[in-house]
């Protein structure tokens, strides 16, 4: 297998919370694909993401196995950030690190073996996702939830730049979610997104339905659903514009 580019991610089914086998026994995901994970709260969506993140080998409660290009990943690709195949945007909305945006990004670039020049690019991209600009001198801990998520998203797109991207509920972040997902998907990546959001769920090519900790079924996004997704994107743009109008202290005009 190549260290830099994974072409196929495979999930071999395990068991649900009661020990019953996953109904989806095997799931292959390919480069360039966006896969959704849907289901009610507590249905095991985050656990499935966690299985992928730590390349479970039957050693997590679900007993699932994760393969890269058909093989068990090597130990160093599980831990060393320079060789990491996975970038993850988790549900965390805030930074805890007591340092400036610039200092933090420099440090992260170093940990991933990237040149410090990428720092400006991250901040520039983050500012396309949020209405409140992020400045290099800002302290991380004072950033709003939206600014933090925009920065985490841009950081993943530029610095982490791993072939597999895991996203846990981007919709609650107060950022432009469609742009964020497109940015993270990049070119030729495998993107797995946990979502309750109809537009994001329908932006995927397939979605895994979770129930009681198990993988129930896989639904292919139909052409009808794709059309619904386009309509939703228009509604979403409208909502974003309304939000900005209200933020700016202006009066809202006509209905849709």
């Amino acid at each position: 297998m190549t260290e830099e580019r994974a072409c196929k991610l495979t999930i071999i089914g395990g068991v649900d919370k009661d020990g019953n086998p996953d109904l989806v026994e095997l799931l292959d995901m390919h480069r360039g694909e966006i896969i959704g994970i849907v289901g009610p709260t507590g249905s095991g969506k985050s656990s499935l993401i966690a299985d992928i993140e730590q390349f479970a080998q039957g050693d997590t409660p679900s007993g699932r196995k994760i393969l890269i290009d058909g093989c068990e990943p090597r130990a160093e690709t599980r831990s060393d950030p320079r060789k990491k195949l996975i970038a993850q945007l988790s549900q965390n909305m805030h930074f805890l690190a007591d340092m400036s945006v610039e200092e933090f990004l420099r440090m992260h670039a170093k940990s991933r073996g990237r040149s410090p020049e990428v720092v400006d690019r991250v901040i520039e991209l983050a500012n396309t996702l949020t209405g409140e600009p992020v400045h290099p001198d800002h302290h991380l801990t004072i950033l709003s939830g939206g600014q933090s998520r925009a920065l985490m998203t841009a950081d993943i797109a530029v610095i982490s730049d791993s072939p597999i991207v895991l996203i846990d509920e981007i919709e609650n972040a107060g950022i432009k979610k469609k742009e964020a997902l497109e940015l993270l998907a990049g070119e030729g990546k495998i993107v797995v997104v946990v979502t309750h959001d109809p537009m994001l769920a329908l932006m995927t090519s397939r979605r895994v339905v979770m129930k009681n900790g198990g993988m129930m079924r896989v639904i292919e996004t139909s052409t009808v659903e794709q059309k619904v997704c386009e309509d939703l994107a228009k509604v979403d743009d409208w909502l974003m514009n309304l939000r900005e109008t209200i933020r700016r202290g202006e009066v809202v005009g006509a209905a849709l």
């Binding site: 409660p61 988790s90 965390n92 805890l96 690190a97 992260h108 940990s111 991933r112 985490m152």
Partner: protein, 232 residues
């Protein structure tokens, strides 16, 4: 007999991580014995007892907990032998961060909590810089970027350590830690410490209550960094 010394800042999750590692070791057919050192009070022995492993508690009381832990290594090892244990897991209280309670022939494990921020690895001192394994906990509470920056900071402070990302709630990382414990060194004769304990002892160490400077003797350090010896 193997000796594992687990140190780390209070609340970092030493006990929770260790409990998961104990379960992993038990699954492999090993019998670890646990000695929990604390300062004034602990109930952690009850948590370990539930796992069915021999457990003893040592309270340092008036003595420095790290010094107490070091001073009692022989006694702990004898006790573990009596329990017919394969491995002695010594969890320390580790508070003032000036010394590190690691003898040379042990597996030295430092547990550190990622939510303490990326400057924490620089503050912890010999506890981290002389450890063989650094266990990072609470990683689920921060972003991946923050975890990676934290990792980089640990490697700056201790380039040769092995880092284990663990979660005391889910047991993530416990199997990896158990594997490192199994591969750890056998206890040697005439063990020496990896890092020297602090030079200073002063009248406050022996019970002086008065605050004013004129009452203090010993190796003393001023706010501006000047150090002096005052006494006979």
């Amino acid at each position: 007999m193997k000796l594992v010394v687990i140190a780390g800042t209070p609340g970092s999750g030493k006990t929770s991580v260790l409990m998961h590692a104990v379960k992993s070791l038990q699954r492999e057919g090993l019998l670890p014995a646990v000695v929990k050192i604390d300062c004034l009070w602990t109930e952690d022995d009850k948590r370990f007892q539930r796992l069915g492993v021999p457990v003893a508690v040592g309270l340092a009381k008036d003595m420095c907990p790290d010094h107490y832990s070091i001073y009692n290594v022989d006694e702990m090892l004898e006790w573990a032998e009596d329990q017919e244990a394969d491995i002695l897991l010594n969890e320390t209280a580790g508070l003032c961060l000036r010394c590190a309670p690691y003898p040379d022939s042990c597996l030295a494990v430092c547990v550190i909590d990622v939510t303490t921020g990326p400057n924490a690895p620089l503050k912890v001192g010999p506890l981290l810089t002389t450890a063989d394994v650094v266990v990072v906990t609470k990683g689920d509470m921060v972003s991946q970027a923050e975890r990676e920056v934290f990792r980089e900071r640990i490697l700056e402070a201790n380039p040769r350590c092995r880092i284990v990302e663990a979660n005391g709630l889910t047991g993530k990382g416990a199997a990896e830690l158990a594997e490192l414990i199994r591969g750890g060194p056998e206890v040697g004769e005439n063990m020496i410490l990896r890092h020297n304990p602090p030079l200073a002892i002063c009248t406050l160490c022996t019970g002086e209550l008065r605050v004013s400077k004129e009452h203090h003797r010993g190796v003393l350090r001023h706010l501006d960094g000047f150090m002096e010896y005052s006494g006979e």
